[in-house]
Subunit: 145 residues, 2 copies
DNA sequence: ATGCAACCTCAAGCTAAGTTGAGGTCAAGC
DNA sequence: GCTTGACCTCAACTTAGCTTGAGGTTGCAT
């Protein structure tokens, strides 16, 4: 009777994910196994692929909540197919491109900083780059007097 | 009084960092103010620069523990000077370069994946490109290594 | 019918980088 | 000397992604 259902331990061995993590994924809505009469989880073989998807998406920097959204957007909660994966991975590519751009900008500014060494909150372009750590109100003034 | 000492509130206003965060930094060993007879903290003016250093290093992806190490490596626990900053920032540049390379590789593999869609843990080069992304976004990514 | 590995739930703990709140004290201006 | 705002400590809470442990049950092989 090995056909369609596998235990949580088998899924763990097949994916390299800890049993506790799989239970955690279920809790978060990323997996939805059926139960035996004795309340043990039984997963579909296709869930191996579903877990693979989770792992790969995580590598690309998506959080579990975002992954859950992607999975939930699939019709009838089915596991991701080739077309789904292509759609989602194209979307992820955009995000990776943005991260690379951000890091490149940071690096360029760091190069300027190496020569500068000002450590000034007011002047340092690296520090003032984009997000404003509460720069409202009185705000930080020059570091050097 | 133009004295050498400033209160925690002044330091907070000058750096844009919340008072609670400054106390937290002290707890972590990044700051070490003296105390008045009434047990209030008094910081050196130079600590404004020290906090700037912390903020900039954080922007570059260092955790507080790493920053603390860098600061602790300074002779006599003095605040960072131009030369210190240059040494440390050159070191950080190397790390940023590595992150960029890793992301570029990931992106290239993702491009292959878009055409492939295998989602196989055995075959997917994206998943099996084993070195864990040094990309530690928000939250601990502790266990996937 | 028994042994035992694998399973179950629920609660608590961990890391990171702080924030929020309660309850109390200090310092300085009037 | 009183009031008030800034300060103090300590504890608990936050998000994310899990792990660990206690204490109990199931399912399969012998």
């Amino acid at each position: 009777m090995q056909a369609n259902f596998i235990t949580i331990g088998q899924l763990a061995r097949r994916t390299g994910v800890a049993v506790s993590a799989l239970r955690f994924y279920e809790e978060k809505g990323l997996l939805d196994p059926i139960r035996t009469s004795g309340n043990q989880r039984r997963f579909l073989r296709g869930d191996i692929r579903r877990v693979s998807f989770i792992l790969i998406a995580q590598k690309l920097g998506l959080g579990l909540a975002e992954i859950e959204e992607q999975l939930a957007s699939l019709p009838q909660g089915r596991n991701p197919t080739l077309a789904d994966w292509q759609r989602i991975s194209r979307q992820m590519r955009v995000e990776i491109d943005e991260k690379i751009k951000l890091l490149n900008r940071t690096r360029n500014q760091l190069d300027q900083c190496i020569g500068c060494g000002c450590l000034s909150l007011e002047k340092c372009r690296l520090y003032n780059k984009d997000d404003n750590l509460g720069l409202k109100g009185p705000g930080p003034r020059a570091v050097l007097d």
